[in-house]
């Protein structure tokens, strides 16, 4: 048998044993409820608690977290059922409901914890903040990280959690605002700033939580109204689950109304901004410590990341440009081959002209030898009209000048002109 199977068997065995105990205990609770006895106080929720204590040690690890959450929810659910089933001195059901509502009302009066969604469901963190648990977490982590190198005690910040009397806060503020002096003044000043920001954050968090406090009574009223509406529409509510669902709907309605208000938005914004200021200052202090240890700081790494990102973007842009130029060049491939064909044709023509030039001139003809085929026309024209042809000035000039010169000199002139023409073509 594998280890996991053994664990599972133990777990199931523990459950089986406990199941009998639970049934018995629950029956006792029912008897108590029926008889009106005052003891034990919360038999069903207690039974749930006892059950979990008994079986959780043998529960497989991966299931423990899920189950402990479910059990916490279950306990609250059971407590609700208990409240709704407890006897009253009068034995009247309406008194029973009123008692339960009064209990809820008292809970709300204790600073709005009843409206704190996580706390209300038994899922509040160790700080008891529940709905704000996320905002505690990074701060706690930071506080642990910093405690080693901090000039203030590791638990210094804990003193500011929860309600801090106004005069104490003011005194701490004065202490943290005292001018820093001496060799470590810069260092001290940074820590003082950190301390002040922590106090501001605690204040903002307190105000944020206080915002929920005012909602308790309202949600109770909404709950009552919803119960009455449900009872009027479809008869009295006769299951714990139905009551729970109506309770959830009422709380969601009141919460949503508040969460959409400007007041909530301000408190929330101030709380988050204050926390970010603390974290930023904390990061600065951590960076200073890292620098002192000759280690790379977060600021430096961020700087490198930014540069890398910028380089990558530049590289991408250049690659895209190169790609587009390559595509353009590919598109030009046809033009290039056409130019090449023309160039070859030109060379052929040049060869032909050269051959013509190399032929001895007839005695009766002028020594004028045009450099280009176009000049043939000019020559023809010139031969006819005795006027040098126009088309290419250079050629015309070359044709005109040697007219009175001997043939050998004319050859050299024609060659230069040819060279000039080639350069032009190439450009």
């Amino acid at each position: 048998m594998s280890d996991s199977e053994t664990t599972a068997d133990r777990w199931l065995e523990a459950q089986k044993r406990y199941w009998d105990a639970w049934t018995e205990m629950a029956q006792r609770g029912l008897d108590t409820a029926m008889s009106g006895s005052r003891e034990p106080a919360n038999p069903w929720a207690d039974a749930m608690e006892q059950w979990w204590k008994a079986v959780s040690p043998s529960a497989p690890k991966p299931a423990q977290d899920v189950f402990s959450q479910l059990v916490n929810l279950g306990k609250n659910y059971f407590a609700m059922a208990e409240g709704l089933s407890k006897p009253t001195t009068s034995g009247d059901v309406s008194d029973m409901v009123q008692n339960w509502m009064r209990t809820l009302s008292d809970a709300f009066a204790k600073g709005g914890q009843g409206m704190n969604p996580l706390a209300a469901m038994g899922l509040a963190g160790k700080t008891g903040r529940g709905a704000t648990a996320f905002w505690d977490l990074p701060f706690d982590t930071f506080s642990r990280t910093m405690s080693a190198g901090s000039p203030v005690p590791g638990d210094f910040l804990k003193a500011f959690e929860g309600d801090v009397p106004g005069d104490m806060r003011a005194q701490m503020d004065r202490f943290l605002s005292a001018p820093a002096i001496g060799y470590g003044r810069e260092y001290q000043e940074q820590y003082q700033k950190f301390g002040r920001l922590v106090m501001e954050y605690e204040k903002a968090m307190g105000q944020y939580q206080a915002g929920f406090g005012a909602l308790g009574q309202k949600s109770l009223e909404t709950f009552q109204k919803r119960l009455e509406t449900t009872a009027a529409d479809s008869g009295p509510v006769n299951s714990v689950r139905q009551v729970y669902n109506i309770w959830v709907d009422a709380c969601e309605e009141v919460y949503a109304e508040y969460a959409m208000s400007d007041d909530y938005a301000k408190r929330y914004g101030e709380m988050v901004n204050a926390l970010m200021a603390v974290k930023q200052q904390g990061a600065r202090l951590v960076d200073e410590s890292l620098e002192a240890m000759n280690m790379p700081t977060r600021t430096e790494i961020s700087g490198l990341q930014r540069r890398l990102h910028d380089f990558r973007n530049d590289f991408r842009k250049l690659s895209a440009e190169a790609e587009s130029m390559r595509a353009e060049l590919d598109g030009m491939a046809g033009v290039v081959s056409e130019v090449e064909a023309l160039r070859q044709e030109l060379d052929t023509l040049r060869e032909a002209v050269k051959k013509l030039q190399e032929k001895p001139a007839p005695a009766t003809q002028s020594d004028v030898t045009p450099a280009k085929p176009a000049a043939t026309k000019a020559r023809t024209k010139a031969a006819g009209s005795k006027t040098p042809a126009k088309p290419a000035a250079t050629k015309t000039r070359a044709a005109a000048k040697p007219a009175s010169k001997p043939a050998p000199g004319a050859t050299g002139g024609t060659t230069r002109k040819t060279g000039t023409t080639r350069r032009k073509t190439q450009s």
């Binding site: 479910l70 059990v71 689950r241 969601e252 919460y255 959409m260 914004g269 990341q305």
Partner: protein, 355 residues
Amino acid sequence: MTPIQIRPDEALDELTTFQNKLTHGIQNLMDVEEITTGVTPKEAIYEEDKMVLYRFQAPASVVQNPVPVLIVYALVNRPYMADLQENRSTVRGLLDAGMDVYLIDWGYPDRADRYLTLDDYINGYLDRCVDVIRKRHRLDAINVLGICQGGTFSLCYAATHPDKVANLVTMVTPVDFQTPDNMLSNWVRYLDVDLTVDTLGNIPGEMLNWTFLNLKPYRLIGQKYLDMIDVLDNPTQVANFLRMEKWIFDSPDQAGEAYRQFLKDFYQENKLVNGGLQIGPHEVNLKNVTMPVLNIFATEDHLVPPDASKALKKLVGTRDYTEISFKGGHIGIYVSGRAQKEVPPSIGQWIDKRS
């Protein structure tokens, strides 16, 4: 009349049933094997940094539309929501409707991605994915289906690259970020976004989870788990519940610079409606969205209220605008049984008519 009338013995019955389910449910929880997601076979077509472009394998029996559909998912949460399980898959529904489906998985950004901007996401990754598909299919333009924040990205993309988008489908997409019922929008009004991003760098996924849970805390943190206890005796339903739970909390961190611009320009300044939105070198004007648009929203959506989506109608430049209203929530529109029957076939028919 007393509104509550619960007899103690009835209450005990309820609690005994509850306890029974709880204690026996542990066996089913222990039997649950690794939660799998993303059921439809797919092939990675293109990868860049942490982003992967997938193409889903279509059933051989279905005649495919020659113009593929690219699903652009949000940066928040993971895209396997669109292909969650065998009988809950928008992707599968689209394939069955004859679509050739591609999907962008943005991956999990880490600190190396802290400076990725919306320009990088929209004009970079998204545009390159579109180009890859266009090239593969030798098309000038493809169909784009944007989901939630991915829909907002798709709108920006379609407005700035209209020649590459044949048809645009947006699902539960926020357009007007400041409708009176938008809770998220109210919460960020006084938030110093610069301070937050400068301090945190990337925004932790855990912070987003916390934010989303607090939109409906009593329901999402409490009631939902009591509902779970009700199904603990059914192994299939337990697995389905845990699969959904995995998706809900599987939230990638958000690249800091992209988050900064998204919160400031979209939530705080509502520039998609008010104008003045700049994504990299492009100014985004929804009047340039001239291709056919299908806008699908959910009537019970608590994250993207229907009015936030419906605002699109008056802003786009197209004359071919269609709306589909789905009775359900932000997640139900992908995974509910009714959604499977209604949503993907409607998208398929709408696209086919325009092909």
